[in-house]
Symmetry: C2
Subunit: 155 residues, 2 copies
DNA sequence: GCTAACTATATCGCGTGCAATTCACTAGTG
DNA sequence: CACTAGTGAATTGCACGCGATATAGTTAGC
């Protein structure tokens, strides 16, 4: 076993679980956010991960499963069933690419494209529920992005 | 609060999806954190939510299911099966309270108490993986705590 | 051409989260 | 005592996430 490198870790004595406190703040805030979205997205019939996929497609239609995964940091084990549910809603279609039959191209249907016009209330609702100023949101987002990239590096 | 311009969307023009960008940062960072914990907790045989329950019990043993839920912002639909799995690991016991037979009191077993001594590496590992200074962690945690409380208010 | 290595999805199993509902028990009220 | 409202857990049903594995399609090497 390795020795306790107390000088290297350098945790504050007053709050020995600080890292874990942050992790819990992250975990519980993420769940709270999910609940807000569940309420706002109920009208659209989508879950939050499904909504994220739609955001990707509204940005750029006709992308492969793996491309969606790169944007959302999700893999096929999560995306395949998720995409099938969205397809069952009639919002997207899934077809094998001609060039490379291994790839599955995800494309918006007419209903999928039109759904975009109902998203204004979602954006407003989340912004309102956050009770934050734009500057605060920017600050938190930047710090989270940095933290995520570091966590992914050290995964 | 009086500055509400509800007829048109009062979002910043430069970044129309800013709130959602923050939400995605929150969502994806939380998943990244969970992956770090999964690796660190594998040795202990725990998942992150299970570890959270253990943290609560190490802080205060012999609490009811609903008290655990208040600490972790989870309800019985999540906690009951979760606690049963921890019980199956031999770390806790679940007994009905004598005073009020509706309540279930969760208590640490000897193995559950002793497991606490293996958590040093988990704390160190998370802190190291975050790549952040203590000040950064404190700052993010405070902002997340504020955001969560506002989201829960507006839920 | 043949085949081994590689790649993109798909599948399986398990553990959450949570809305909705049910069950067991308690605390009244008359 | 029976009746009722309320509360704490448990249960049900569904949708993620993801480690592990499988499968089909592609490429590289010989």
């Amino acid at each position: 076993m390795s020795n306790k490198r107390t000088n290297a870790s350098a945790k504050p004595k007053g709050s020995p679980l600080l890292g874990e406190q942050l992790c819990f703040a992250l975990y519980s805030t993420s769940l709270a956010m999910n609940k807000i979205y569940r309420k706002l997205l109920r009208e659209l019939g989508l879950t939050y991960p499904q909504y994220l996929v739609m955001l990707v497609l509204w940005e750029r239609d006709g992308v492969s499963v793996s491309e969606i995964g790169e944007h959302l940091f999700l893999d096929s084990a999560t995306l395949t069933p998720l995409l099938k549910r969205i397809e069952a809603l009639g919002l997207i279609s899934r077809r094998r690419a001609h060039e490379d039959e291994r790839q599955v191209i995800v494309s918006l249907s007419r209903a999928g494209r039109e759904l975009r016009q109902k998203t204004g209330e979602v954006q407003d609702g989340v912004f309102h529920a956050s009770g934050c100023t734009v500057d605060e949101l920017v600050a938190i987002k930047q710090q989270l992005d940095r933290l995520r990239s570091r966590l992914q590096e050290n995964a």
